[in-house]
């Protein structure tokens, strides 16, 4: 449970060079390494670094901690682009931080590859040719879950998300495929006490709960929900039920269904190689965030094999081809540089070591594309 944090402390200003030379490609990574959202950023970073290491890529990666603060992320982006002269920026976890950093970065000519946040604005009207999303558009998993719950005969879900761009996207995505919910509620981003929300769930006529609460928020909510004595079935996107959250929440999460673009037990050669290497190197099962960091790094490597970022047009075309072995199996970009991919359904089951774990159940939606692609004109 406890560990000395010297390695974490050092990583806050870590410069990792994998066989860096004078003309290495410089990559800046701004991600969340401290506070309640830290396991998301740590997994993106670890997955990314693992892929770079396995590919023996000639890159220099500069990692910085944004502590989930938009102003910090913004000034780090300025520092990395102007002083460190990075060719590619990546790493941001939270959509409000992405909205603060991405538009000005890509307009300035730097490539930005998102390993996590996928706000709807950047997929639609505010899209940019130098912005690629390697993870998903925020609405995707909720859309798939909305459709799944409707087909499963759920009538009146209580839906809950933090009040920030990703939370709004999640609930919008859910409603677009399910219809109107029994009741919807926005919480504060980073909120840790959900007593007032849980009381409203108890008093409502809902027959189920759908919630998007990533990181520490999800742990706090599930623990408090389990103690509340309410026994409604729980659904959500994978963000609310990653392996770290399940480890902290324990048996209270058993039976929960969630949607994800990836699962560690998804069968393909690239994925088994990734999961095995990740477990060996870091001693834990990767979360979806780690898989996204890993895919982002491999996409960069595949494009670097074809062109240099200094030749922007050639590099962009190389990225668009997505010529890499994704751990998700089939992966390609739509016209707005967002993924077209399968969304899977998973269930939380008892694991081998006594901790609950996610088990792949099947495909919720095949070759899913986001709803904003048609609004995007480069």
């Amino acid at each position: 449970m406890l560990k000395t944090g010297t390695t974490l402390l050092a990583s806050a200003a870590l410069v990792l060079a994998t066989a860096a030379s004078a003309d290495s490609t410089r990559i800046g990574m701004i991600t969340t390494l401290s506070g309640g959202g830290s396991h998301l950023g740590i997994d993106v970073r670890d997955g990314f670094m693992l892929a770079m290491e396995l590919a023996k890529a000639d890159v220099e990666v500069i990692v910085r901690d944004d502590a989930r603060k938009p102003d910090v992320a913004k000034s780090l982006a300025n520092e990395l682009v102007q002083r460190e002269k990075v060719d590619i920026l990546t790493g941001i976890i939270w959509s409000n931080l992405a909205m603060a950093v991405v538009p000005s970065t890509v307009r300035g000519g730097t490539f930005y590859l998102s390993p996590n946040a996928g706000p709807s604005a950047l997929a639609g009207k505010a899209c940019h040719k130098n912005y690629f999303n390697v993870a998903w558009q925020n609405n995707n998993m909720s859309e798939a879950m909305g459709g799944y719950m409707k087909a499963a005969g759920v009538k009146a879900p209580f839906i809950l998300a933090p009040n920030y761009p990703a939370g709004q996207d999640m609930l919008a995505g859910f409603k677009s495929h399910f219809g109107e919910a029994e009741q919807e509620l926005f919480t504060k981003l980073g909120q840790k006490d959900y007593a007032a929300e849980i009381a409203q769930i108890r008093a409502s006529k809902a027959d189920s709960i759908f919630f998007f609460l990533p990181g520490g928020m999800g742990i706090a909510f599930m623990k408090q929900y389990a103690a509340s004595g309410i026994d409604l079935p729980v659904y959500g996107p994978a963000f609310s039920f990653d392996e770290i959250i399940l480890g902290a929440v324990g048996d209270a999460a058993l039976g929960v269904k969630n949607t994800s673009q990836w699962a560690y037990d998804l069968e393909n050669a690239a994925n088994s190689r990734f999961v095995e290497a990740f477990r060996e190197k870091y001693g834990r099962t990767p979360t979806l965030y780690a898989s996204q960091g890993y895919d982002t790094a491999n996409l960069i490597v595949s494009a670097l094999n074809k062109a240099k970022p200094s030749d922007a047009d050639a590099f962009r075309s190389a990225l668009e081809m997505a010529d890499f072995d994704s751990v998700r199996g089939n992966f390609k970009f739509g016209s707005n540089h967002h993924p077209i991919q399968n969304i899977y359904i998973r269930e939380v089951v008892p694991g081998a070591n006594g901790k609950p774990t996610n088990k792949l159940m099947g495909i919720a939606v095949a070759d899913h594309q986001d709803a904003y692609a048609s609004q995007c004109k480069f």
Partner: protein, 306 residues
């Protein structure tokens, strides 16, 4: 809107208020008796939570952890008082703010160094993990009831300490006229250390109790510290009674605002707009409350030297 929901939200508000009272009572005593603005009070809250998580992890007993959390924070409080804060009593408030802000930074980095940047997860004891039926349709988590119980015990204990004991008499005297107490031969530095230790122990207790409900992480104390300052400003600086009533008021206004404002806006707006407007307004409600109370009573509700 059912009666059971209203009662449950009232209990939630009281529980939040009681937790704030544990923080605010120490803060207001320290300010009232010593005239010291202690920004590092939130760090003592954090230290309590970390010690509690650590000791619970080693011993397997949450109760041992809770005791250790309060004692650990008290010990750290005395250490800080003797080494740093004792030198600040005669300085002006700006110096105190500067020095105790530096303490926040040092204690946060120190904690990060020892425990890491990732939150620790502390579980409430299994016996208190569930909920209890309090009435028709009213079910409430046992652990939150325990927090309310602790708050009541602390309030009664502080009342008895201050109104019925010799130490309490000196504390009251110290609030009224510091120089005279000193001139009458009371060992004022021992009294100050004692008050500081009591305040720190209460902060540590609050941190430990909340840690099991939420999470234990670096920086967890500062949001609570801000609310505790709101409480003591509303209640009247130095007044335990003010801290108690202020805490309950802030706890209830915040909780009920979060619930009922979105419901209110839903009457004439569509659901998602109502949620966002309501939540946004709810988050500023307690500051509105503070502004109104200060406009009517500039020294707070129960000023000590009225």
């Amino acid at each position: 809107m059912t009666l059971a929901l209203l009662l449950e939200q009232l209990l939630n508000g009281v529980q939040f208020g009681v937790m704030l009272f544990l923080m605010a009572s120490g803060l207001t005593l320290i300010f009232g008796v010593m005239g010291l603005i202690n920004l590092a009070h939130g760090s003592l809250y954090m230290i309590g939570a970390f010690v509690c998580a650590y000791v619970t992890g080693i011993t397997g007993s949450f109760w041992a952890g809770l005791l250790a959390g309060a004692l650990g924070a008290a010990f750290m409080g005395v250490l800080v008082e003797v080494c740093v804060i004792r030198r600040l009593y005669n300085r002006d408030h700006l110096d105190q703010v500067l020095a105790t802000f530096a303490l926040i930074l040092m204690i946060s980095e120190g904690t990060r160094w020892v425990f890491g940047s990732q939150p620790l997860w502390l579980d409430a004891p299994a016996a208190l993990a569930g909920s209890i039926q309090l009435g028709a349709g009213l079910v409430y988590p046992l652990y939150r009831l325990l927090i309310i119980l602790f708050g009541v015990l602390v309030a009664v204990g502080l009342y008895l300490l201050i109104s019925r004991t010799r130490v309490g008499m000196r504390i009251r005297a110290g609030e009224n006229d510091r120089e005279m107490v000193d001139a009458l031969g009371v060992n004022i530095s021992a009294l100050y250390s004692f008050v500081f230790a009591v305040g720190a122990a209460l902060a540590g207790l609050a941190g430990s109790l909340v840690g099991a409900l939420q999470s234990v992480e670096v920086g967890m104390g500062e949001p609570v510290l801000i609310l505790a300052f709101v409480v003591i400003v509303i209640g009247g600086i130095g007044s335990i009674k003010g801290a108690l009533i202020g805490s309950l008021l802030v706890g209830l206004v915040d909780t009920l605002g979060r619930v009922f404002l979105p419901t209110f806006f839903r009457l004439f707006m569509d659901s998602s707009d109502a949620s966002s407007v309501g939540s946004a307004l709810a988050s500023i409600l307690i500051y509105l409350l503070m502004a109104i109370i200060l406009a009517l009573k500039p020294k707070g509700m129960f000023p000590v030297n009225a």
